[in-house]
C-alpha cells in the first residue's frame, strides 16, 4: 500500500501558497479517493481539495488557518500499518521529501481507478515541492518527473509522482500564455500530439474572472489606498487583456418581457418545482440561440475561429470584492428547471467561495446580469477567449404603445458585446433577435 503525501496544490500559475481554511477530515479518518480532505483559499476562490489515494489520514501537518507554500507536505495518507516516521522526519516544515506517491490530481487521462476526471480537479499535483531532497529515502514507487511543468520561481525538481508522472506536457508558448493569464495548466486537457497542451488549449480554457468593475465609495478622508484583493488583482490584470486587443462592438435590443414574466410567475406557483429567475430564462434562451448561431458561440484561436458545439455559459456573480464567472456547462442540453437549480447552486457557492476549480473555466459565452441593481442597460467586457458576452438590464415597467393604445409593459434591455475578429454586427444582431424571440415567446424555452 502506497503512502500518499498530501501536498498544497498549485491551483493557478500565480499561486505560491495556499491557506487551509479547514480540514474536513481529521487524523485517523478513513479516506477514499475523491473524499474532500480540506478547503483551500486561493487567489481565485476557495477550493475543495480532494484526496487521491486511499488509506487513513495519518497526519495533519498544517493546521487550519495556516498557510503553506505550494508543493509542501500538509498531510499524510497511509495504511495504519505503514511506517511513516521516516517521511515525517524527512519533511521539515514546509517541505516534502522526494519519494512516495504524492497527492496528485487525476485530471488528465488516467488509468483506473482514478475518480471521474471532471470531479477531481480541485487538487493539483505539486510540480516541485520546495526543498525536495533527492537523497531522501523513497517510501514506495518513485518516478522522477522528467521536467518541471512551468516557469516558476521555485527551482527544485525531481518530484515523485504516481502513474503517468506529474509532468505537464505543454508547449513553451502554452506555458507562457498560461502564466500570464493565470491559467493552471493542470486543469487543461491538451489536444496536441500525445495530449500535449498547446496554445489553443490554454486560450480555450480562458479564465473565469469576468468583466466590469465595481465603483468604490469614498468617504471621510480624501482617499485611501486599499490593497488589491487577490480576486481584484486578477480582474485588474485580465480586463486590459480583453479590452485592448479584442475589438468590441455592441448591439442592444429591447425585449418585451410581459409573457416571460407571466410564465415565470406561473412556473413559480408549481409546487415541488424550483423557482425560476429571469436570468434562468435568459440563460436558457441564450443556450438555444447559441446552437442556432454557432458563429457567436466561437472564439478566435490564432489563425482559426473555433466554433463550439456546446453552450457552456459563464454566469457573472458579484462578490463583495469583485466578481467571478462560474461556468454552467452544456446549457443547451439542460431543461429550464435544471438550469435554475444549477445556476443557483453555482452562484451560492461562488459567493461562499466554494467553487471547484473546473467550474471556473471553459465557458464559450457569458452572461452578466445587473438587473437586480435597477440598471436600464449596460455593456460588458468580453472574457477572452470567449467571443461574446450578454449584458442584461432590469425588467422595467414602461409605457408602451400597441394596437390598443397606451399601456404598461415590461421591458428588458440586452446588450451583446462581440469580438469583431470573430463575428460581425449582423451576426450579433441575428443572435440577439433570436434571444429576443425566445424570450417573447417563452413557451419555446420549455419545449
Amino acid at each position: 500500500m502506497a503512502v500518499t503525501k498530501v501536498v498544497m496544490p498549485k491551483l493557478s500559475e500565480a499561486m505560491e501558497s495556499g491557506k487551509i481554511i479547514k480540514w474536513l477530515k481529521k487524523e485517523g479518518d478513513r479516506i477514499q479517493g475523491g473524499d474532500i480532505l480540506a478547503e483551500i483559499e486561493t487567489d481565485k476562490a476557495d477550493v475543495e481539495m480532494e484526496a487521491f489515494g486511499a488509506g487513513v489520514l495519518r497526519k495533519v501537518l498544517v493546521p487550519a488557518g495556516e498557510t503553506a507554500p505550494i508543493g509542501s507536505l500538509i498531510g499524510v495518507i497511509a495504511d495504519p500499518a505503514d511506517d511513516i516516521s521516516a517521511l515525517l522526519a524527512s519533511a521539515p516544515a514546509g517541505g516534502a521529501g522526494a519519494g512516495s506517491v504524492a497527492q496528485k490530481t487525476p485530471l488528465r487521462a488516467e488509468p483506473a481507478p482514478a475518480p471521474p476526471a471532471g470531479a477531481a480537479s480541485a487538487v493539483a499535483p505539486p510540480p516541485r515541492p520546495a526543498g525536495a531532497t533527492p537523497s531522501a529515502a523513497p517510501v514506495s514507487v518513485v518516478r522522477p518527473a522528467a521536467a518541471v511543468s512551468a516557469p516558476a520561481p521555485a527551482a527544485a525538481t525531481g518530484v515523485a509522482q504516481g502513474p503517468q508522472g506529474g509532468r505537464v506536457k505543454a508547449s513553451p508558448l502554452a506555458k507562457k500564455i498560461a502564466a500570464q493569464a493565470g491559467v493552471d495548466l493542470k486543469l487543461i486537457q491538451g489536444t496536441g500530439p500525445g495530449g500535449r497542451i498547446v496554445r489553443r488549449d490554454v486560450e480555450a480554457a480562458g479564465v473565469a474572472v469576468a468583466p466590469t468593475a465595481v465603483a468604490a465609495a469614498v468617504t471621510g478622508s480624501e482617499f485611501e489606498d486599499l490593497p488589491l484583493s487577490q480576486i481584484r488583482a486578477v480582474i485588474a490584470r485580465r480586463m486590459p487583456l480583453s479590452k485592448a486587443p479584442v475589438p468590441h462592438f455592441y448591439v442592444t435590443s429591447e425585449v418585451a418581457m410581459d409573457r416571460a414574466w407571466e410564465l415565470r410567475e406561473q412556473l413559480n406557483t408549481l409546487e415541488g418545482q424550483p423557482k425560476i429567475s429571469v436570468n434562468d430564462l435568459v440563460i436558457r434562451a441564450c443556450a438555444l440561440a447559441l446552437l442556432q448561431h454557432p458563429g457567436v458561440n466561437a472564439s478566435l484561436q490564432g489563425d482559426a475561429i473555433r466554433v463550439y458545439h456546446r453552450a457552456h455559459i459563464g454566469i457573472a456573480v458579484a462578490l463583495d470584492d469583485g466578481l467571478i464567472t462560474p461556468v454552467l456547462r452544456d446549457c443547451h442540453a439542460k431543461p429550464l428547471a435544471q438550469i435554475a437549480v444549477e445556476a443557483r447552486d453555482l452562484a451560492e457557492r461562488a459567493r461562499n467561495r466554494k467553487l471547484r476549480a473546473q467550474e471556473l473555466s471553459g465557458a464559450t459565452f457569458s452572461i452578466s446580469n445587473l438587473g437586480m441593481f435597477d440598471v436600464a442597460e449596460f455593456s460588458a467586457i468580453i472574457n477572452p477567449p470567449e467571443g461574446a458576452i450578454l449584458a442584461v438590464g432590469s425588467v422595467r415597467r414602461v409605457p408602451v404603445v400597441d394596437d390598443s393604445g397606451l399601456g404598461v409593459g415590461r421591458r428588458m434591455a440586452i446588450t451583446i458585446s462581440c469580438d469583431h475578429r470573430v463575428m460581425d454586427g449582423a451576426m450579433g444582431a441575428r443572435f440577439l433577435q433570436d434571444v429576443k424571440r425566445l424570450l417573447e415567446e417563452p413557451l419555446r424555452l420549455l419545449v
Binding site: S171, P172, L173, K176, I177, R199
Partner: protein, 460 residues
C-alpha cells in the same frame, strides 16, 4: 477498353500526387496513378528542380567572375547557356526516374495518358495508343497549375514565354523583360542576368517580391541593382506587342524593347477537361474547394496541391498528399497548418520566410519585438564571401511567440527550418536562444537575430 479496379487513383504525379500515391501504398492501399507527362509533374520536370540546376549554374558563373577576390586568376572562361539548360534537363531526368523507381518499389501502377473523370470514382485515361478505365474507391486529383498571362497577352513560348519555355529554351535572349517579380520572376531574372542577358524586371506592386517582408524587398532590390538588373516597380503593363528587336512592352507611357518577354504573373489551377463540372465539384476563385482533409465537395473525391489553392508550393502539395492519403485510409490526419509553411525563393541572395511580415504582425494588433542580424557580422558569411542579407525575427513581445522570420542571404532556404520546427513545437524566443548553434555557421545569424529580439545580441 479494359477496366481496372484500385483502392485509390491519383490523377497527376507532381509532388502532391506522387507523395499521396506512395503514402497510400504504404498504408496498404492499391494505387493507380495517371500522368500525361513524365512522373514528377511540373516541379521535377519543368519547375523547382531544373530551375535550381540553372540557378546553381548562375551561382558558379558568378563565383568564377569573382575568382580574383579569392586570389584565383582565370584567363577568361566561357559559360555556355545551352549546356546549362542541358545540365538542368539531366538533373530533371534523374529525379523523374527516381519517382518512377519509387512507384515500382511501392507497386504503384502508372497509366500514361490524360485522365478525365466520368464519375466520381471513375477515371478514363486516354493514352497515346489505348484508352483505359480506372475504377477506384477514392480519387485524388493533383493536376497542378499552369502559367497565367495578362489579359490580351498570348504566350507563344517563342517571343512571349512562360516558365515552361524558359526552362526549355537552350538559347538565352540578348534582352528580356520579366513581368512579375514574385519567386518565378526573380529566379529567372537571376539566371539570365548571370549569363549576361540584359534583364528588366517589371512589377505592378510597389516593390519586388511583394509578399515578403518590406526589408527583404529592399535588400533584394539593392542586390539586383548592383548586378545590373533594371527594376521597374509600381508600373502597369498596358500591352505586349511584336516589334523592334522582338517585343515591345508598353508600360503605360514608357516603352521597353526586348528580344523576349517572360510572363511570371502567377499560375492558375489546371482543371479544364478534367470533368469536374459534370460532378458538381465546387470551386473557389478558380481553385478546387477542399475540406481540411482535402476532400472536395464530392464525397470520396480529393484534391491536393496547386489546384486546391494557395500557397502554390510543392512542399505544401506534399503535405496535403499525405493528409489526403491518410484520410482515405481511415486515419484522422492532422490537417496542414497553412500558417506554418516556409516560403523559399532561390535567387541570390536567397529568400526564406515563415509566418507573418513585420507589417502584418503590427496590423494584427500585436506588440512585437523585432530582432535583426546582418550576415556582414557573421564569421562564416564573411569567410564564404557571402555577406549580403540578414535574418529578421518578429516575435510577440509579451510571450516571445515566433510570429514570423524573414531571411535573405546565402543558404537562407536551409536556415529557415529551425524556425519552422520551433513554430510547430510552439517554441518561443527563449527556446531558440537556449539552443546552442554551432560556430561558425550561417545559422548562428538565426540565433543572433533571436537574441536581438530580446535585446541581447552578442555580435552586433
Amino acid at each position: 477498353m479494359a477496366t481496372h479496379k484500385f483502392d485509390v487513383a491519383v490523377v497527376g504525379t507532381g509532388p502532391g500526387g506522387y507523395v499521396a500515391a506512395i503514402r497510400c501504398a504504404q498504408l496498404g492501399l492499391s494505387v493507380a496513378t495517371v500522368e500525361d507527362d513524365r512522373p514528377g509533374g511540373v516541379c521535377l520536370n519543368w519547375g523547382c528542380i531544373p530551375t535550381k540546376a540553372l540557378l546553381r549554374n548562375a551561382e558558379v558563373v558568378t563565383l568564377l567572375g569573382r575568382a580574383a577576390e579569392f586570389g584565383i586568376r582565370l584567363s577568361g572562361f566561357e559559360a555556355n547557356y545551352a549546356e546549362a539548360v542541358q545540365r538542368s534537363r539531366k538533373v530533371a531526368d534523374r529525379m523523374a526516374k527516381g519517382v518512377e523507381f519509387l512507384f515500382r518499389k511501392n507497386k504503384i501502377t502508372l497509366f500514361p495518358g490524360r485522365g478525365t473523370l466520368t464519375a466520381k470514382n471513375v477515371v478514363e485515361v486516354k493514352g497515346a495508343t489505348a484508352a483505359e478505365t480506372i475504377e477506384a474507391r477514392a480519387l485524388i486529383l493533383a493536376t497542378g497549375s499552369e502559367p497565367k498571362s495578362l489579359p490580351g497577352v498570348a504566350i507563344d513560348e517563342k517571343t512571349v514565354i512562360s516558365s515552361n519555355g524558359a526552362v526549355r529554351n537552350e538559347r538565352a535572349p540578348r534582352s528580356i523583360a520579366v513581368i512579375g517579380a514574385g519567386a518565378v520572376g526573380v529566379e529567372f531574372a537571376d539566371v539570365f542576368a548571370a549569363y549576361g542577358v540584359q534583364v528588366t524586371l517589371v512589377e505592378a506592386l510597389p516593390r519586388i517580391v511583394p509578399v515578403e517582408d518590406e526589408e527583404v524587398s529592399k535588400e533584394l532590390t539593392r542586390a539586383f541593382t548592383r548586378r545590373g538588373i533594371a527594376l521597374k516597380t509600381g508600373v502597369k503593363v498596358a500591352s505586349v506587342k511584336p516589334g523592334g528587336a522582338g517585343v515591345v512592352v508598353d508600360l503605360e507611357g514608357e516603352k521597353l524593347e526586348v528580344e523576349q518577354v517572360l510572363m511570371a504573373v502567377g499560375r492558375a489551377a489546371r482543371i479544364a477537361g478534367l470533368g469536374l463540372e459534370g460532378l458538381g465539384v465546387q470551386l473557389e476563385r478558380g481553385f478546387v474547394k477542399v475540406s481540411p482533409h482535402m476532400e472536395t465537395s464530392v464525397k470520396g473525391l480529393y484534391a491536393i496541391g496547386d489546384m486546391a489553392g494557395a500557397p502554390l508550393l510543392a512542399h505544401k502539395a506534399m503535405a496535403e498528399g499525405v493528409v489526403a492519403a491518410e484520410a482515405i485510409a481511415g486515419k484522422s490526419p492532422r490537417p496542414v497548418d497553412y500558417g506554418n509553411v516556409p516560403s523559399c525563393t532561390y535567387c541570390r541572395p536567397q529568400i526564406a520566410s515563415i509566418g507573418v511580415t513585420e507589417a502584418r504582425a503590427r496590423e494584427n494588433g500585436r506588440e512585437v519585438a523585432v530582432g535583426k542580424f546582418p550576415f556582414t557580422a557573421s564569421g562564416k558569411a564573411v569567410a564564404l564571401g557571402e555577406t549580403e542579407g540578414f535574418v529578421k525575427v518578429i516575435a510577440d513581445k509579451a510571450t516571445g511567440e515566433l510570429l514570423g522570420v524573414h531571411i535573405v542571404g546565402a543558404e537562407a532556404t536551409e536556415i529557415i527550418h529551425e524556425f519552422a520546427v520551433g513554430r510547430t513545437l510552439e517554441a518561443t524566443l527563449e527556446e531558440i536562444i537556449h539552443t546552442i548553434h554551432a560556430h561558425p555557421t550561417l545559422s548562428e545569424a538565426a540565433l543572433e537575430a533571436t537574441l536581438a529580439a530580446l535585446g541581447q545580441a552578442i555580435h552586433i
